[in-house]
Symmetry: C2
Subunit: 333 residues, 2 copies
Amino acid sequence: MATIYEVSEAAGVSLATVSRVMNGNTKVSDRTRKKVETAMAKLGYQPNAIAQSLASNRTNSVGLLVSELHGSYFGDLMSTVEQALKQYGKHVIITAGHVDEKREHDAIEFLKSRRCDALILHAEAVSDEYLTTLCKSDLPVVVINRKVDGLDDHCFVVDNEKGGYLAAQAAIQQGHKEIGYISGPKFKKDASDRLAGHKRALTEAGIEAKDDHIFEGDFHESSGQEGMHYLKQHFPDITALICANDEMASGAMTAAREAGLEIPQHLSIVGFDNVLFSRYLYPKLTTINNPIQSLGEMAARWVLKNVYDTKINQAIEHLFVPEVVERHSLSKR
Amino acid sequence: MATIYEVSEAAGVSLATVSRVMNGNTKVSDRTRKKVETAMAKLGYQPNAIAQSLASNRTNSVGLLVSELHGSYFGDLMSTVEQALKQYGKHVIITAGHVDEKREHDAIEFLKSRRCDALILHAEAVSDEYLTTLCKSDLPVVVINRKVDGLDDHCFVVDNEKGGYLAAQAAIQQGHKEIGYISGPKFKKDASDRLAGHKRALTEAGIEAKDDHIFEGDFHESSGQEGMHYLKQHFPDITALICANDEMASGAMTAAREAGLEIPQHLSIVGFDNVLFSRYLYPKLTTINNPIQSLGEMAARWVLKNVYDTKINQAIEHLFVPEVVERHSLSKR
DNA sequence: AAACCCTTTGTAAGCGCTTACATTTTAGTG
DNA sequence: CACTAAAATGTAAGCGCTTACAAAGGGTTT
């Protein structure tokens, strides 16, 4: 693999000149530029990004931490972030934290050791303090889908409370009064926010928010099934079931069908996230759009603007408001 | 950020010694090791991976090219590869090629410029020649889900012909005789292989493989819908529909339902790939398991064994045989 | 033709590590 | 206790680039 030195020799110029035509920030006469370019082409020269990074202290890569590498939610996120950055010649280094404190921590350390120019974190397990410390360091960091007090400028979040509110409101507007809820793990901020919004909607509508109508799941499909069983067994008069994410909604649909209930005739179901497969479900799932792609794009934009001084004139937003996606799993009571 | 030099000063030893305790390949006395480790801890030292790579010509990272960053198929692949490599302290750098020759090419060049120690490629658009040249270079390369003549040791593939055969056979065994087929783009090897297997199964069963029963889709959901419309309109006596992947099967299911057909009572449907959401579909999709995870794991294992000299005693397989996953969308005629 | 300035190019010092080789220390031996 | 081999440590030369600074051209102006 040819080095810059060989190119400079072949072109009859100095190392510095070759470097200059590569980076294009200093003036080089057309004649020498041509010579260098010819030499590069002839040698099939490809700059060594590692050496460039070491010398320039710039890697042109952004670290992205997600919880998992699979699943539509993170797929969408990775995809959006990558697209947005690639446009400007920046690259993404992706790592998975698996919602485990140590593994998230290790993943972040890895990204730091790779000398990423900035970090975009979807961190669920590490502490607020850790994130705060990280943001205070000279490595630029943004946090996705999590609000950390004092780090507002670095956080990009969805109004989960509002989303929970909207889901309940949609059901209420269809005349439902006995509403079940399958929550995510309550220690997770997004789960508890969604639940809070749910309760607020009920209260505002004059419906008592009964705690025993709430089943705490784990955001996975199977707990949707469990929740469905539990609720239907104990509260057969429930006519609408709201789930804190689409996976659990899918599980609930399966369980409902197995119990001989038709959706939405016998039971309405509302999900949350609007992941890709929610439209593959039958009936197509009415859900709350979680604008994860907007989050990703905004985070990328923040990095481009603040780290790479890219001229971007679109505004940077930090709070995203979810919306109801009306499909076929919610109907009049 | 502390450097190795500061550590060596703090510990009262030379640079080389610090490097030695980091890499642990040369003997260092316990006493000095302790001193160095203390100094490291005190300074919060973190080696600069970039500098390490430049000096050692080793990046400990493997490049992974996928077609998309989203979708369960690639999600599964990325996840498996990452897990397998992480166990041995190796990292994955993921890029997307978007099934476009230039973009795949650029992505590979990017991985090369990052000086990955090896490349795992799910390349669909670049030419066989390009891959062959690549494999001949001194950068170790393996190819996933694509067979390139002369590169057998570097290829990890699924027997798509067999898969297509199994799908048709499954339908035939249930008594179906009028069988529609929605193919992927025929220029893609996997699509044409699956189709070939399909035809072979029909022929062996004494059923004429009618070309007009075959609709060429593009592997996306919408073309499943189109295919369904087309086939049902022209050949209403079709009782079973086999789709070359699950996305198209899902589209076909939707279209069938809209046309008032119940599945599988009126029409049986078989998919291919067994992606995650195929079990969310209703009815749960009978499909062909595409062992993409095994491919990923095997590719990772190959790299560990051949590039990093890891002691792995499991065998390396190159050909994976798909299997029928029986669920609820295929029934007796 | 000397003096000046602007543009283009070259020189060389690092970036933070690894590692071959040289040197010192330690332990073992008679 | 001197002598030697083995073990531990140090020295310094890179890895392939970037970039501050120096030097050299090339016009103008007087």
